[in-house]
C-alpha cells in the first residue's frame, strides 16, 4: 500500500463537504445529533445536523445536555446509542418459511443494506466495534448479517477533547486517541477564533475521499494543538479502574458479599446491556401466520432477564444477584477466556444509564480492596 498522505486541516465547510461526498458515494451517513434531550446516532445530512455547541454532563444515573460557551461540534462524548444499533440491529428477520405441499421451505432474508458511513466514532466505540467483530465473525461460525453490514462500513473517527463524567477509556487502554480501525480520524482544534479539523487518513479510500475536498496542510502547531486536546481528555477521566489480574480477581470472588450488596440496588432493568457497545446477546422469536407462513426474528436480549437462562423447570440464574454477577464477570473476566480481550471499553454508558447509578468501576474496586471476603453462597 502506498504511504498515506500526511495530516491535513479541514474547516467546517470542508467537513460539510466530507459528509456530502460520502453520501454521494452511496453511503448512508450516520452521526451524532440532538434528539429527545440526548445526543444520539442517527442519519445526518451535513454539519448542521451535528450537536454544535452542546455538551453532556454524565454521572451515575445522570445524563443532561448543556449548552457550551463555544460552538464546538464534538464537545461531548457518547450517549445512549452505540454503533451496534446499526451493525447488530435490535430487530432482524433471519428467515421466513412457507408451507410447500405437506412440507415447508425456508428462505433466508436478503441481507443487503446500503453501506454505512459512521461519522464521529469515538475511540472507545472503535474498540467496541472490533470486539463485536471478534465475537460475531472471528469464530468458526460467522454471523452473515453482521458481516454484510460491517464490510464496507466507512468510519470517520473523532478524537475526544473532553472526558465524560463516567469515562474510563484510559484505564481500559481504549482511548482517548483513535489509533486504528478507521478510514479517517478527526481532531477538533481551536483555530483562528473558530474550529478546524485535523484529519488523519487510515486507509486508501479515506485518502481518496479527502483528496477532493478543500483543505490546508497541517502545521506542527496544529498537530501539537491536537495532541493537547487529546491530552486534556486523558487527564480528566471521570472514572478509573485497576485492570491488573481482574479476571482472576473476579472469578476467585464469586461468593464475595459485595454481590449481595449490589443485588440490593440492581433493578435488573437491563439498561446497561442495551447501552453497552459490546453486549451482543440476542434471542429469537418464531411465529406463524394464518396464511401458512412462519418466520424467525432475532431480537436483542439481556442476561438480566429471568428467561435468559431458563431451562425446563426454572432459570439457572433466578436471583438478581446471580444476574448482576453474570453480567459483570462476563464483561471483565470470562470475556477474556472466550475472546482473548476484555469485554469492556470504558465508555461509561452503563454507569450513566443505570437508573440507580451502579458503577462497574466501583464494584470492581470494592472487591479488589477486600478479596476473599465470605458472603452468602
Amino acid at each position: 500500500m502506498a504511504e498515506l498522505p500526511g495530516q491535513v486541516l479541514l474547516d467546517r465547510d470542508g467537513l460539510d463537504r466530507l459528509i456530502a461526498a460520502l453520501a454521494a458515494r452511496g453511503f448512508r451517513v450516520i452521526g451524532p445529533t440532538v434528539r429527545d434531550q440526548a445526543i444520539v446516532y442517527d442519519d445526518i445530512g451535513g454539519v448542521a445536523d451535528l450537536p454544535a455547541g452542546w455538551t453532556d454532563r454524565q454521572d451515575g444515573g445522570h445524563y443532561r445536555l448543556e449548552r457550551r460557551t463555544d460552538d464546538a461540534l464534538f464537545g461531548h462524548v457518547v450517549g445512549p446509542h452505540s454503533w451496534k444499533k446499526f451493525l447488530h440491529p435490535s430487530r432482524l428477520t433471519l428467515w421466513r418459511a412457507a408451507r410447500d405441499g405437506d412440507g415447508f421451505a425456508v428462505e433466508p432474508t436478503d441481507e443487503h443494506s446500503e453501506p454505512f458511513a459512521f461519522f464521529g466514532v469515538r475511540s472507545c466505540d472503535l474498540h467496541a466495534i472490533a470486539i463485536q467483530d471478534r465475537v460475531l465473525t472471528g469464530g468458526p461460525y460467522v454471523e452473515p448479517h453482521y458481516r454484510a453490514r460491517r464490510e464496507g462500513t466507512f468510519i470517520v473517527a473523532v478524537n475526544c477533547g473532553e472526558a465524560g463524567g463516567t469515562c474510563f477509556c484510559v484505564s481500559m487502554g481504549t482511548g482517548p486517541r483513535a489509533d486504528k480501525g478507521f478510514d479517517l480520524s478527526l481532531t477538533e482544534i481551536a483555530d483562528d477564533g473558530g474550529f478546524a479539523y485535523l484529519v488523519k487518513t487510515g486507509s486508501e479510500r479515506g485518502a481518496d475521499v479527502i483528496a477532493g475536498l478543500p483543505q490546508r496542510p497541517a502545521m506542527a502547531r496544529h498537530v501539537e494543538a491536537a495532541d493537547a486536546v487529546v491530552d486534556n481528555a486523558r487527564r480528566h477521566m471521570g472514572r478509573t479502574i485497576d485492570t491488573y489480574g481482574i479476571r482472576d480477581l473476579l472469578l476467585d470472588n464469586l461468593d464475595h458479599p459485595r454481590w449481595d450488596e449490589v443485588a440490593g440496588r440492581c433493578l435488573t432493568c437491563g439498561n446497561c446491556t442495551m447501552v453497552c457497545p459490546t453486549c451482543f446477546c440476542t434471542t429469537v422469536e418464531d411465529s406463524s401466520d394464518l396464511g401458512g407462513g412462519a418466520a424467525r426474528v432475532r431480537r436483542w436480549d439481556s442476561c438480566f432477564t429471568l428467561d435468559f437462562s431458563y431451562i425446563h423447570g426454572g432459570s439457572v440464574r433466578s436471583s438478581p444477584k446471580s444476574r448482576y454477577r453474570q453480567w459483570m464477570t462476563h464483561k471483565l473476566a470470562t470475556w477474556w477466556d472466550q475472546f482473548d480481550t476484555s469485554g469492556c471499553v470504558g465508555c461509561g454508558r452503563c454507569i450513566t444509564w443505570c437508573p440507580v447509578g451502579i458503577d462497574i468501576t466501583e464494584e470492581a474496586r470494592v472487591i479488589r480492596e477486600n478479596p476473599g471476603a465470605e458472603g452468602t453462597t
Binding site: W95, G139, T282, V316, R317, T334, D337, Q338
Partner: protein
C-alpha cells in the same frame, strides 16, 4: 444459519412423555460424533436443542428422542411419519470415545441421560476389542420410566459388558435393583486409575455420581459430564448457554469434571 428441511420416517413412543423420531436426512446422510446435538425446528413454533441418539455408523437415519417439557418439544413429539421439520447441526463437543481406547469405560446414565449416551455405546460395542471393561449403569425413576429398556435388556445379556439398572422406587412387579445410581458405582467392577467415565443425566445426579467416581479413584480429567443450558443459536453468538467462560453449545455440552467441579459446586452460575 437456516434449518435444513427433512422428513420424519418413523415415530416410536418410548415413555409416557418421550418419543423417538427417526428422520430421513436425505441422500447425503447425516454424520455426527456421539454427544453432539441438533437444533430441531417445529414449523411456526420454535427450535429446541436435542441430542442425537442414533448409531453414528448408520448416517442414513437421524434419530432423536424428545421428552416433552415445553411448547417446542411438545410440537416435535407430536410429529408423525411423513411430517416435516427443520434441522440445524450437528453442534457441540462430544464424548471422548477415541481417547477411551485402551481404558475401562464407565458409562453412567440417569433418566433421559441415556439418550445422548446411546451413540457412544453403539460405538463402544461396535469396536469392543479396543476397550477394557465396559460398565453401563442406568438410573431411572421407576420401572416404567426406563429409557430404551428393551435395548438395555439385550445389552445386559451380552457376556462382555456389565449392565446394571436401578430405579428410585418400584412396585411389586419389579425384581431388579431399587436405589440410587451412585450405589451401583460402588459395586461395579472397573479399574479406577485406568477408567474413562461418561456421565449424563440431571445435574444433581451427575454431581453426586461424579463425587462417587472421584472417591473411587477415577481421575477428574477422565470423567466427562454432559451439560444442558438454554440454547437459542447453538453457535456461540446469542450468549444464552454460557456457563462461566464456556459456551455449552461450543465448548460443551461434554466437559471434564476437572474443568467443571468447582463451578458445579457454586449456585446460579
Amino acid at each position: 444459519m437456516v434449518p435444513a428441511v427433512v422428513r420424519v420416517a418413523r415415530v416410536r413412543r418410548e415413555l409416557i412423555d418421550a418419543w423417538t423420531l427417526e428422520i430421513d436426512p436425505g441422500a447425503d446422510g447425516f454424520t455426527f460424533a456421539p454427544g453432539q446435538f441438533n437444533m430441531l425446528y417445529a414449523f411456526g413454533v420454535g427450535e429446541a436443542a436435542i441430542s442425537i441418539s442414533g448409531d453414528p455408523a448408520r448416517p442414513e437415519t437421524l434419530v432423536h428422542t424428545v421428552r416433552v417439557v415445553g411448547k417446542v418439544s411438545a410440537a416435535l413429539a407430536a410429529l408423525k411419519a411423513g411430517d416435516w421439520l427443520g434441522v440445524r447441526g450437528p453442534y457441540g463437543h462430544g464424548w471422548p470415545v477415541e481417547a477411551a481406547a485402551g481404558s475401562d469405560v464407565l458409562v453412567i446414565a440417569g433418566g433421559l441421560g441415556l439418550a445422548p449416551l446411546r451413540p457412544c455405546l453403539y460405538r463402544l460395542f461396535a469396536e469392543r476389542d479396543r476397550f477394557g471393561r465396559i460398565v453401563v449403569l442406568c438410573g431411572a425413576r421407576s420401572p416404567t420410566e426406563i429409557l430404551y429398556r428393551a435395548e438395555l435388556e439385550r445389552w445386559r445379556r451380552r457376556l462382555d459388558i456389565d449392565v446394571e439398572v436401578t430405579v428410585d422406587h418400584a412396585g411389586p412387579d419389579w425384581h431388579g435393583n431399587v436405589g440410587v445410581v451412585t450405589d451401583l458405582i460402588r459395586r461395579a467392577a472397573f479399574d479406577p486409575p485406568n477408567t474413562v467415565a461418561m456421565l449424563c443425566g440431571p445435574e444433581i445426579m451427575m454431581r453426586v455420581a461424579a463425587l462417587e467416581t472421584d472417591r473411587a479413584g477415577v481421575t477428574a480429567n477422565a470423567t466427562h459430564l454432559s451439560l444442558e443450558r438454554n440454547m437459542k443459536c447453538a453457535i456461540a453468538h446469542c450468549g444464552h448457554c454460557q456457563f462461566s467462560g464456556d459456551f455449552v453449545c461450543r465448548d460443551g455440552p461434554v466437559a471434564t469434571y476437572a474443568r467443571l467441579s468447582r463451578l458445579l459446586a457454586l449456585r446460579e452460575i
